[in-house]
């Protein structure tokens, strides 16, 4: 069943402040915002339930067309609404706090009349706790306020009509004339009193927010090909970095479907250890040493509680529990269930140990300091890998079928031990067990070469003894397994592209995963393919593929997790960090090869 009232996912732009993130549709509606943090319950959740999710709409009343773009090198989104009676420009941004007494979270919408006289209408319909709580609406002086439990919102407006309160919404209409400048500000409070800003303060913070993003972008050192797309991806990653801790969320949303009407709907507002090495690599390649250090410290702290074992994912505040539950929402275009939390947290995935060790290696080799305590912990992780690698696991794709000996997991165990040996060679971690690590690394290599290589398929296969294929094996190439000169690398790339690919798109794998339904093509896999092609010195193929992939972004340069093979529509959570990470790393790899 397809419900009305949902915008295509491709039509969303994202704004944020490093704590939370909002999705703004091309119709001018903010359909997703969680407060106070990205992993808190939503207050605007129309994207998951068009009837009861809540939204903040702002648009001309007559029919309109739009043009929109981010203000260059910022996370402030500008939409130009064109109507038959005139043109208005809306600038949306989550404001950064600056100094003084400021709201704990603040969203600004500036409306400028560019020509004519345009009847405008805006409406705030907050639905706290994922739509389960209707707000109590009242006024504090002239300012409308919505309250529910620990949370409250103030809706300040200047030259944007007289707000009217009804049972569930705050709304107003007015006419935007050429030269008019109206302003709306949403101020949020959580477990504290509301702060009511003045117009001057909001305008000042909007300017300083734009200046901050421009300054941050100017600080990135990347000068290679597809710079605009790389910087946009960097800005997306910065939106997904949870500033209070340094963790990076996998995506900004929960439960957007991998298949319209399907049940593959997952909450991605957690930090996956799986993404850590790629994250650190991308941050370092972009010239973000402070974000890199912050993320590495967070990863070490978060994993301390379960040491030497790792959880698949951690909460943004470092917590190690993410119990999965189902919300009574209708889901995006009827895609049920709507899940929050993620049961994958309890799975066993061996690949994450390779990601941790690779992250530590990248951090240390770029000059980061590994103290003796951290070194001891990493050595204990390497010891653990020697015991664990022979076990089957759920693999990088978190299958919910029986655990298998996934090839990618074994390769990442080899990456873990190889990384430990390199760290030990530099005396960064204790080398007492290095001989054992060396022996087990060799055993893993033998296992992969003998059990996970198929002469018939002409490539590495998904799991030991199977004939199935898996795009995650491209990550082996990105982690230098096999080496660039290994003929197995070329053969695997060619086979995966031929068998799992369709144009620039690539499926994740063939075979079962314990779930029903289908899914779109995974965009990160396509970027990994471009990266692997470059590393295999197939530069022309890599460049051509990259051009096609850059063209798949939406009008403001964002990607969701997947793309529908037939319609080209976005599927899955967005904006998706792993896709933007993969874009950055692929662009850098291709650029390096082009220069060499």
């Amino acid at each position: 069943m397809r419900d009305a009232g949902y915008s295509p996912l491709r039509e969303y732009g994202a704004i944020g402040d490093g704590r939370t993130l909002a999705l703004v549709s091309s119709k001018g509606s903010i359909d997703w915002l969680c407060l106070p943090d990205l992993d808190s319950p939503s207050v605007f959740g129309t994207v998951l339930d068009a009837q009861s999710g809540g939204s903040f709409s702002l648009a001309p009343e007559p029919p309109f067309t739009i043009e929109r773009a981010y203000l260059p090198e910022t996370n402030a989104l500008q939409t130009i609404f064109k109507t038959e009676v005139g043109v208005v420009r809306v600038t949306d941004a989550m404001l950064l706090p600056g100094s003084g007494l400021v709201p704990s979270r603040e969203l600004a919408r500036r409306v400028e009349g560019l020509s004519g006289r345009v009847p405008m209408r805006w409406g705030v319909e907050p639905r706290f706790m994922y739509g389960s709580r209707r707000p109590e609406l009242s006024r504090r002086g002239e300012t409308p306020v919505a309250r529910s439990g620990k949370d409250a919102l103030a809706v300040s407006s200047w030259d944007a009509g007289v707000p009217v309160l009804n049972e569930t919404s705050i709304s107003a209409s007015y006419v935007a004339c050429a030269g008019d400048d109206a302003l709306l500000a949403l101020s949020a409070a959580h477990e504290e009193p509301l702060v009511f800003p003045s117009r001057t303060e909001v305008e000042s913070r909007l300017m300083s927010t734009i200046a901050f993003w421009r300054g941050w972008s100017a600080g990135r050192t990347y000068e290679g090909p597809w710079r605009d797309a790389v910087i946009r991806s960097a800005l997306v990653l910065k939106l997904l970095i949870h500033s209070p801790s340094g963790a990076i969320a996998a995506a900004g949303t929960a439960s957007l479907p991998e298949e319209l009407g399907g049940d593959r709907n997952w909450d991605y507002r957690f930090c996956w250890v799986r993404d850590s090495a790629l994250t650190l690599h991308a941050l370092m390649r972009l010239g973000c040493p402070q974000e890199s250090e912050s993320f590495f410290w967070w990863l070490l702290h978060a994993s301390q509680l379960t040491h030497p074992r790792l959880r698949v994912l951690y909460r943004l505040n470092g917590g190690d529990r993410a119990p999965e539950s189902i919300l009574p929402l209708s889901g995006y275009q009827g895609s049920k269930p709507v899940r929050i939390g993620n049961a994958a947290v309890d799975q066993e995935q061996l690949d994450i140990y390779g990601d941790l060790m690779q992250t530590a290696w990248l951090y240390a080799s770029s000059g980061g300091d590994l103290d003796s305590d951290t070194g001891r912990r990493l050595a204990e992780v390497a010891d653990l890998i020697c015991e664990l690698w022979r076990r089957p696991d759920c693999g990088i794709w978190e299958v919910r079928s029986e655990p298998l000996h996934f090839t990618h997991s074994k390769i990442m165990c080899w990456v873990a031990l190889d990384g430990a040996l390199r760290l030990a060679e530099r005396d960064l971690i204790p080398r007492a067990h290095a001989t054992r690590w060396q022996r087990e690394a060799k055993a893993i290599r033998t296992f992969v070469d003998e059990r996970c290589w198929s002469e018939e398929a002409g490539c590495y296969v998904r799991s030991a003894g199977s004939g199935e294929l898996d795009s995650s094996l491209l990550l082996g190439a990105l982690m230098d397994y096999p080496s660039e000169r290994d003929p197995h690398l070329n053969a695997t790339i060619t086979t995966l592209r031929r068998e799992l690919g369709s144009g620039p798109l690539l499926n994740r794998y063939s075979g079962e995963d314990g779930l029903g339904g289908t899914e779109g093509a995974f965009l990160c896999c396509s970027f990994w393919l471009a990266d692997a092609l470059a590393r295999a010195d197939r530069i022309d193929e890599a460049t051509e593929l990259m051009e096609q992939l850059i063209g798949l972004a939406n009008d403001v340069g964002l990607y969701s997790e997947e793309v529908d093979h037939q319609s080209g529509e976005f599927l899955g959570n967005m904006p998706q960090g792993l896709v933007h990470l993969a874009l950055i790393n692929a662009a850098v790899s291709i650029g390096m090869k082009q220069r060499s």
Binding site: G16, R19, W216, S294, H307, G318, G319, D371
Partner: protein, 160 residues
Amino acid sequence: MSIWGAIAGGFVGTLVLTTALSAASGFGLTRMDLPFLLGTIVSSDRGRAKALGYAMHFATGLLFGMVYLGIFAAIGESGWALGALFGLVHGLFAGTALVTVVLPAIHPRMGTPFSAAPDRPLLEAPGFLMLNYGRRTPLVTIVAHIAYGTIVGGFISLAS
């Protein structure tokens, strides 16, 4: 009641409290490490931060021993049971205000709920009752502080 009892109690109490928290961390009950949290106020070098943090923690322990002594003197009573009660209050205060609110506010390397995109913290904030550091952190903290209070109360009483 004497100042020497408070100093001895503060020292031994802090020793026990620190050992208990360290053991709890080793057993995977909490990620809280008070000397580390204190030491990183003045240094981002992990090793140096821990050494400095231990010194700061012991100084703080002695200071609180004096505070206990002052309150005992004011009410004219002391003893291990009263000390345990003070320890309970002390632990709750630490979990709800001292470490949760005051420490993030003064710590230059710790995130707070108000940290935004321009900030790049190296340490996650403890959160309410320090729950960010593990679900058992409040329990561990309160038990350790009750032990501290019991020892301080006992030593002050014995030194009477």
